[in-house]
């Protein structure tokens, strides 16, 4: 179970790194802010930050552990903050509330991340740090779950709208499908982080209990698949989506 979980998370990490750096490179050429925000989300948070914090305690030197933890947490906060800002800028560009809400969420994430790092600097007893920062972790995951709920809602809402546009020739089938994948990845991430948070609230050890371990592994696997199909769709997938749409149009005719 532990090996399977590790393999799923490794796949998610590698996928996030590739997709993230690809999007950052694209933002350099297009000067697009959304590409940069979502690229940083995947590269900084799940690509580098998360593995750094998970492996931080494996270092033999305390200095290396503290460094990995501080850099890892900072990158996770940066990535998750970019994720909230991406939702605000892309899905609610004209709403006055969206950017302040994203910034407020980022502030809470930064405070929780800072709390974890401060506790690591205060003691080298990992179990004690985990116990002391339980509330901070719960708060962090709660903000993340809200952000993923927002992603799922916007993804599905836009998918519904894009299907209507498709009927009038105002949308592309592949772009319409991207909103569905975006919504699914939001729903899956919402479920996986929600399960972890529920077990944390119940006082369970999330690294040993099979339910949160399975939720994280399976969630990571599905999210990695959605990432690839959304941001780096293979030619066969694009052809399949377009052919399916053409077939439906002909059947309607």
């Amino acid at each position: 179970m532990a090996e399977l979980s590790l393999a799923c998370l490794a796949l998610y990490t590698v996928t996030s790194l590739v997709v993230g750096f690809r999007l950052i490179a694209r933002s350099y050429h297009s000067r697009g802010v959304p590409e940069l925000l979502i690229g940083l989300t995947y590269a900084a948070s799940s690509g580098i930050g998360y593995p750094l914090t998970v492996t931080a305690t494996a270092w033999s030197s305390r200095g290396a552990t503290l460094g990995a933890m501080a850099i890892g947490e900072a990158l996770i906060v940066l990535g998750c903050g970019c994720f909230l800002l991406f939702n605000a800028k892309v899905f609610r560009p004209t709403a006055r509330w969206s950017v302040p809400v994203a910034l407020l969420g980022s502030l809470v994430l930064a405070a929780c991340g800072g709390w974890v790092v401060a506790e690591f600097f205060a003691t080298d007893d990992v179990a004690l740090v985990t116990e002391r920062t339980r509330l901070g972790t719960i708060l962090f995951l709660a903000v993340l779950v809200l952000g993923q709920g927002w992603t799922a809602f916007e993804g599905m809402r836009h998918y519904r709208m894009m299907r209507r546009r498709l009927a009038l020739g105002l949308a592309e089938p592949v772009v319409t499908n991207r909103f569905l994948l975006w919504g699914i990845s939001g729903l899956v991430s919402l479920t996986w982080n929600g399960v972890v948070n529920a077990y944390l609230l119940a006082g369970a050890n999330i690294n040993l209990h099979p339910v949160p371990v399975f939720a994280v592994s399976f969630g990571g696997l599905v999210t990695a698949g959605c990432l690839v199909l959304t941001f780096m769709p293979p030619a066969w997938y694009v052809r399949w989506i377009q052919r399916d749409r053409t077939a439906r149009a002909l059947a309607t005719a």
Binding site: L23, R26, S30, G32, P34, E35, I38, V90, F91, P93, T94, A95, E154, H158, R160, M161, M162, R163, R164, R165, L168, G169, L170, A171, E172, V174, V175, R178, F179, W182, T230, F231, M232, P233
Partner: protein, 100 residues
């Protein structure tokens, strides 16, 4: 929330070319946009032209407006002078770029 420049121009033209008051004109156009999966805040002139051709005539008829095609022609004329510079980029445009 205010509509896009194209939406506001179309509302004004619809109000002036029919017996509908300002709120009825906005409501009629909003319903047409909802049918087409578009939003008032981000709809462009090009998208509105498609809605005017495919969806709006049905809405106008349901409001008892007899000469729907003449009204639609006036709306299209109003849209030709709309300045859309500085308009926010739609989520569809962003997602179209992200996966290319």
């Amino acid at each position: 929330m205010p509509g896009s420049a194209a939406f506001e121009a179309a509302c004004t033209a619809l109000e002036h070319s029919t017996s509908l008051d300002r709120w009825a004109a906005r409501g009629t156009l909003q319903l047409s946009l909802m049918d087409a999966g578009l939003e008032t805040g981000s709809v462009s002139a090009a998208q509105l032209r498609v809605v005017i051709g495919a969806v709006l005539p049905r809405q106008l008829k349901s409001h008892g407006i007899a000469d729907a095609s003449a009204v639609c022609a006036k709306l299209e004329t109003a849209l030709s002078t709309v300045n859309e510079s500085g308009a926010a980029e739609g989520a569809d445009a962003v997602f179209s770029r992200l996966g290319g």
